[in-house]
Each structure stands twice: as structure tokens, then as C-alpha cells.
Amino acid sequence: MIKLRNVSFSYGENEVLKNVSFETGDGKSLVIMGPSGSGKSTILRLLLGLESPHEGEVLINGDNICTMSEAQKRETRKKMGMVFQDGALFDSLTVGENVGYYLIEHTKMKFDLIGEKVEEMLGFVGLGGDNVIDKLPEQLSGGMQRRVAIARALLSTDPKLMLFDEPTTGLDPFATRNVLNLIRKVNSEKGIATIVVTHQIADAIEIADKYVILHEGQVAFDGGLDELRDCSDERLKNFLEPFRESFRLVLGKNFVDC
């Protein structure tokens, strides 16, 4: 269970999050949307304990990550997987070393066994037959890098929560489809809760159980698709206006006019 309670955060003078509260349950898929600079990625950084809020609490299974020691944070992070924007793969390591990074660093598992697990995980993300294991990240396409990043995050022990920071940004439609399918697969087959940050509404509708929409650092919407469809908030309508067509296609209904 993830819960943000009255969280405020600033980068210097710039107040990014203002009194933000929401929660999501185990095994659920939450999508955080909002325009650029609305604080979406900051929320993921707060959940990982990479930043601390100036006010409020970030609760991971009831424990406030903000008040934990570094050692406790490290233990908490081991139950989470994070896929950064652009993958953030270690560019000096091969794909195999990237995916097996956690096991190499934190376990005494034999390299042969790690290799097997890496191959299994690459298969799960659809890169099994592509002979990518010995390649460097720079030799892969953007979509492949994103899938390697997902494989790497999944191989970090047994994550109960996966965080995705704009996983489809900059990808072509085919690669976007692959990554979205993979996120759905992570959520449905492995039962891992996911929190996805995106500003692609069409993507969000495909993967979300629940939506949080940020506007100027505040939660403008928190609920499911039916509530979103019935919402009459002007701020939301303005945000969703450019995506009128996506909504019409997915919902068979033009949200902005409803």
C-alpha cells in the first residue's frame, strides 16, 4: 500500500507539489498524469526516497520513507523496481550485466545462474531471441533500451511495486505498444503494483486501474475511469482538451463535450 499524505515539495523557490494526497493498493495499476512540470516525476523520486518532501508523509506499507535511515531506505528500495525515463541503463555495462546488476551486487549467486535468470528475464520482456545480452545499451534502439530497463528492474529481488517514469516517451508506435503490453503483463501476470507517470492519455487508459491527474502541483483528479468520464472540473477539461480524439476512440465518448 502506497500513500502520500499532504505532501509539499519545492525545488528552490519553485513549489512543485502542493499538499498532494492519494493512495494505491497492492497489485493495482495507478497512472499519474499531468502537463510537463506538474511534479509527476518528483512523486516517483519521493516514493523512492531520492528526495524528501518539505511537508507531509510518503508511506510505503505504513512506513514513512522520509524518516527512515539510509540503510532502511535501501531495504525498502529493494522491494521496488524503477524504470527511469530513457532507461538510465549503465552505459559502460553490457545488457546482460545491466539486467543482472542487482543480483551481481547484492547476492552471492554464481555467474552461470545469474546468466540464466538474465536470459529468462530478457525472454519475459521480449528480447530473448535478439542476441542482445552481450551488446552495450548504445547499440540498442530506444524501445529495446526501455525493455532492458524493465527487465533490470524486475530482476531486483522480487519487487512488489514497479515505478515507470514516462516509459513510452520518444518511442515509435510499435515500441510504445510493446512497452505498454509489458507493463500490463508485469501487473497482471506477476501481480506487481505499478505506478506509471505519463502525459500520454491514450497510454494511460490502456494500463490504469486508477488515475491521479496533477494540475499546477495539486491533485486535480483521483479516481477511476468512470469517475474521470463523469468529471466536470474545468481544469481537467482544459488538460484533456488536446486528447479529445484519444478519448473518443477509447471510450466511444468525447470527454470534453460531456
Binding site: 523512492l48 531520492l50 535501501r74 531495504e75 528500495r77 525515463q85 538510465a88 552505459d91 546488476y101 531486483s156
Partner: protein, 217 residues
């Protein structure tokens, strides 16, 4: 360790040989005025082992390695690799900074000894062919000043410089902000700050040594 040590060897050889020859040439002319050319080895030994070798090596490593460390860490930071490491429950400081510090602590003194040897050899060439001081006389004078105190200072300085280089280079890398431009700025600052700090620290080590260990020199 390989990148810092072997990778910097050619630079150190060039630096050592030309600095040694330049020093020997300048000293031999001055010493000739006093009829004291036979002391060339002594002066070379003191100036190279105690001052020039450590400082030149430190500055060369600052230019070559500190810039590389800052740029590498800065690039890792701007591409979220540092955050990714943290997210995996790994302390980036111990994973990135500590191995570089250890490599510097091992390799900078080794490179300094190498630089000293090459510079003294460069001085020997000048001594034979230009100053016309015999080889035996030159090396005997060099050995005369290779006493415990001078050798200690000559090896203590590079160890201290290693900390300076590692700390500043890593700090500038970890705090680099503003994408590619920010990494470039941090790299320049790293080299400038490291070089200046090495010169300042060198002065204070020499001052402390002259104040408290003069008897061993």
C-alpha cells in the same frame, strides 16, 4: 587503476623528461657561475623528489584523470544512472567514488616515483652532454640527497594529492547540474580547483615539513 596508471604513463614520461632537462639546464648555467656544477645532482634530487615530481604528477593527473572522473560521474548523473544505482539499494559513493580514490592512492605515488626517475634521468643527460658533469659525480650527488626525509615527503605529497583529486573530481561530478553544459562546466571547475588546491596543499606540506622535520632533510 589501469586507466589511471598505465593510461597516464606516457604523459608522465614526457612531463618528467622535459621538466628534468629544463631544470638541469637552467641550474647548470647558474651553478657554473659559482663554479658549483658538481652540485647539480644535489639540487636536482631535492627539487625533483621533494617538489617538482609530486606537483607535476599531481597536476598531470588532475588534468587527465580528474576531468575524466568528473565528466563520467556528471554524465551518469544527468542520465539518471546515479539515481538508478540508488534505486537498486546501492550507495553510489562507495560504488563510484571509493574505487577511484583507491586507484589514485595506489597509482599517483607510483607515477610520482616514475616521474622522479625520468626527470632525474633527463637531468643526467643534460649533466653529461651540456653541463659536462661526469655521470659518477651526478649520480653520487643525487644519491646524497635521497635521504629518508626527502623520500618521505616525496611519497607523502602524492598520497595527499590523491585525496584532493578524488574528492574534488567526485564532488564536482556528483553535484553537476544542467545537462551537457553543466557537465562541461563542472569538468572545467574540477581541473582548475584540483590544480590550485594541489599547489596550495604542496606549499603547506612543505611549510609543515620544514617547521617540524627539518632535522631529517
Amino acid at each position: 587503476m589501469y586507466l589511471i596508471g598505465i593510461g597516464s604513463m606516457f604523459l608522465i614520461v614526457l612531463t618528467g623528461i622535459f621538466a628534468g632537462q629544463g631544470f638541469a639546464l637552467a641550474f647548470s648555467v647558474e651553478l657554473a657561475d659559482f663554479g658549483a656544477k658538481n652540485y647539480l645532482g644535489r639540487i636536482m634530487s631535492i627539487s625533483i623528489v621533494r617538489e617538482l615530481g609530486p606537483v607535476l604528477t599531481g597536476l598531470m593527473i588532475a588534468a587527465r584523470v580528474a576531468s575524466g572522473i568528473t565528466a563520467e560521474i556528471g554524465a551518469m548523473k544527468s542520465s539518471n544512472q546515479i539515481d538508478a544505482m540508488t534505486a537498486f539499494g546501492i550507495d553510489p559513493m562507495s560504488k563510484i567514488a571509493v574505487p577511484r580514490l583507491i586507484a589514485l592512492i595506489v597509482m599517483v605515488p607510483v607515477l610520482t616515483v616514475f616521474c622522479d626517475a625520468i626527470a632525474l634521468a633527463g637531468g643526467w643527460v643534460i649533466s653529461i652532454f651540456i653541463a659536462h658533469v661526469s655521470s659518477t659525480m651526478y649520480w653520487a650527488a643525487v644519491k646524497e640527497r635521497l635521504v629518508f626525509g626527502n623520500l618521505l615527503i616525496g611519497l607523502l605529497k602524492p598520497v595527499v594529492f590523491s585525496f584532493v583529486i578524488a574528492y574534488i573530481a567526485c564532488y564536482k561530478g556528483f553535484t553537476a547540474e544542467g545537462g551537457t553544459k553543466g557537465v562541461g562546466k563542472a569538468t572545467t571547475e574540477s581541473v582548475v580547483l584540483t590544480s590550485i588546491t594541489i599547489l596550495i596543499v604542496n606549499f603547506f606540506i612543505t611549510k609543515v615539513v620544514f617547521s617540524y622535520l627539518k632535522g631529517y632533510l
